[in-house]
């Protein structure tokens, strides 16, 4: 059997099998139990010619919704921002495009200098002393930051706010589970910010507390208050930033006393694609230097006194220190970091605040438009927000969302999947790319969708009728935290005692 793109001939395969003493390729799969093996080959249609295949793939791709077909108000960790043409143009330069691990400084000064400048700009943006050369994405940056805090504090429990991106928390849980690291979750207040009192209690004896700035629900947390609450406990503070454009407007977390910043820089010139590639980074105060995951580029002088750049602290990386390495991250997202660097350098000290302001204004304008048009809808949280907000009072939010999707509007992220208590809500994001007309269309469509009589409306009415009279409504502001059973005091429960309420412990 020959395949166009697999160059091994029958003869090659025979020789390889003979060399290792195996009779057939199937024998290589002997360790896989018979019961789970595919029998009789895959049921695939005959292969297409290249021209037919391209036509077929184009047809499939046309089924995707994207910004050219839909009005998109999706955020929740990935943001649609304008990517100026110069970003891609500079990325295409061959000396960057092929850049790989710059182990040899004598032939990699360009790449090393680009990474050094990336680190420098991240430090300026986040208000920190040091930054690493980037990581896979924000979620792994957050998990690695938490592990760094356990090494630095020599404590073994991490507290994470429930207002941190749910997917980020899932990644942390994956890391933590196999390391036997307990993770405690703390709920949010009716205003949508982390419950400070519960956080303070849970932080006692913990290595770190993790919060997001602005948080997943769009609310701008107060890092200074969090640092003040947590500092006496000796736990480190980790701020997660998923929307770095907000840093054009907000005080840098490092300047507010936060120890570690775990950020995702996709917003900086990297298109909002289906799942990546992304660009994470860890920025921190200098006391974290020796425990920093990933690699760092430093500035040095050569023997003739000229400035040069080298990988530094590599002695702590995995290729040298093996299982005793600081972390298992042994690389960086070089090209994506370069992308973010070009974006940061080009927008600069004036452009980024302008961009932030535009996002802020458009999002607030959109919120007003929607609330004006649809009296039933309401802003879930009164707290300040940047370019995302939770819109509630939609009844069955999934139905409203689908209705708008039918009209080619992606009305944000329905929140039921992440927060059962927010099933009447969507997370709406508005960036500089959403036009005034698009925003108007969104507001009108939401108003119409809430009003629209449908089959499901009957059920909703019936539900309301079943509720006993005089019961305090559970929606607005009645609960402190994550679920109906949540109490701040439950945050200190010992490990493994169950999984509900304001705090949940994983082991």
């Amino acid at each position: 059997m020959s395949h166009r793109y697999i160059p091994n001939t029958e003869h090659d395969i025979r020789r390889m099998l003979d060399a290792i003493g195996v009779a057939s390729i199937d024998d290589l799969f002997e360790p896989v139990p018979e019961s789970v093996r595919v029998k009789g080959g895959l049921k695939l249609p005959p292969a297409l010619s290249e021209a037919d295949l391209l036509a077929h793939l184009e047809q499939l791709a046309a089924k995707n919704a994207d910004a050219s077909t839909h009005g998109i108000f999706l955020g929740g960790g990935v943001y649609r921002h304008f990517v100026p043409s110069f970003v891609d143009q500079l990325l295409l330069r061959s000396e960057f495009y092929t850049a790989y691990t710059p182990y040899q400084p004598e032939i990699s000064q360009g790449t090393l200098q680009a990474i050094f400048e990336f680190q420098t700009m991240v430090c300026q943006l986040m208000g920190t002393d040091i930054a690493n050369a980037s990581m896979y994405d924000g979620s792994t940056a957050m998990a690695e930051s938490a592990l760094m805090a356990t090494r630095l504090t020599r404590r073994d429990r991490v507290v994470v706010a429930r207002s941190v991106h749910p997917d980020y928390r899932a990644v942390l849980a994956t890391y933590a589970e196999n390391l036997g690291l307990p993770v405690v979750e703390v709920g949010y207040t009716p205003a949508g910010a982390v419950d400070l009192e519960a956080l303070r209690q849970a932080a006692d004896g913990a290595a770190a507390v993790v919060f997001q700035y602005p948080n997943f629900l769009g609310v701008i947390e107060d890092p200074r208050a969090i640092v003040q609450a947590v500092r006496p406990t000796g736990a480190m503070t980790i701020a997660v930033v998923t929307e770095p454009v907000a840093m054009g407007m907000l005080a840098p977390p490092g300047e507010l006393g936060v120890d570690i910043v775990a950020a995702e820089l996709q917003s900086f010139g990297i298109p909002a694609a289906f799942g990546g590639p992304h660009c994470g980074v860890v920025a921190a105060s200098e006391k974290c230097l020796r425990q920093m995951p990933g690699r760092l580029v430093g500035m040095a002088k050569d023997t003739e006194g000229r400035t040069g750049y080298v990988l530094t602290l590599a002695t702590r990386e995995q290729h040298i220190r093996r299982e005793k390495a600081t972390s298992n991250i042994c690389t960086n997202s070089g090209l994506m970091a370069l992308c973010a660097s070009i974006f940061m350098a080009a927008y600069g000290k004036q452009g980024l605040p302008d961009l932030a302001r535009l996002n802020f204004d458009k999002a607030h304008h959109a919120q007003q438009q929607i609330l004006r048009g649809a009296p039933a809808a309401r802003a879930r949280f009164g707290a300040p927000f940047f370019n995302e907000f939770v819109l509630s009072g939609l009844g069955d939010a999934a139905r409203v969302h689908q209705r708008l999707l039918d009209q080619k509007i992606v009305a944000g992220v329905p929140l039921a999947r992440y927060y059962p208590e927010l099933k009447d809500s969507v997370l709406i994001c508005v960036t500089e790319l959403n036009s005034a007309g698009e925003i108007e269309r969104l507001a009108d469509a939401i108003a119409a969708a809430i009003r629209a009589p449908t089959g499901t409306r009957k059920t909703a009415t019936a539900e309301v009728a079943r509720k006993p009279k005089g019961v305090k409504p559970v929606v607005r502001g009645a609960r402190t935290a994550s679920s109906g059973r949540a109490r701040p005091g439950t945050a200190r429960r010992p490990a493994g005692s169950g999984s509900s309420g304001a705090a949940r412990t994983r082991r």
């Binding site: 020599r154 020796r290 002695t315 702590r316 040298i320 220190r321 005793k324």
Partner: protein, 123 residues
């Protein structure tokens, strides 16, 4: 070359024992192998270790290596000033103590190498 009143390990630490306490450092051979030492990571006072446990790390320009405890005991003192000038270890390894351990069992040290044996080991 190697002080007669020290005991030595196969991992290149030295220990100078007086009563139930021992001062610990790394040998001249170790510093020479590591090259320029740039950073010392020492344990917290109160840490209890068994023989062979990691007490800290020594970082040079080319490697990071562990300090293994020659005996079992509890850390009662660490040389903080030395962490400010770790390069001193390169200049005088046997005069640069890092940790003082209160020994759990002073007889445990009997199994360590003496100066002659250690000199033989590193020949």
């Amino acid at each position: 070359m190697y002080p007669q009143d020290f005991k030595y390990t196969h991992d290149h630490e030295w220990i100078q024992i007086a009563d139930d306490k021992g001062r610990i450092g790394i040998t001249d051979y170790a510093q020479n192998q590591l090259g320029d030492i740039v950073y010392l990571e020492l344990p917290e006072v109160g840490k209890k270790v068994k023989k062979g446990d990691v007490l800290g790390t020594v970082e040079s320009v080319k490697a990071v290596s562990e300090i293994f405890s020659p005996v079992s005991g509890e850390v009662v003192e660490v040389n903080k000033p030395l962490t400010e000038k770790p390069e001193a270890v390169n200049g005088d390894a046997h005069g640069s103590w890092m940790i003082v351990l209160k020994l759990t069992d002073p007889k445990e040290a009997d199994g360590l190498l003496n100066a002659t044996q250690y000199a033989e080991l590193t020949k």
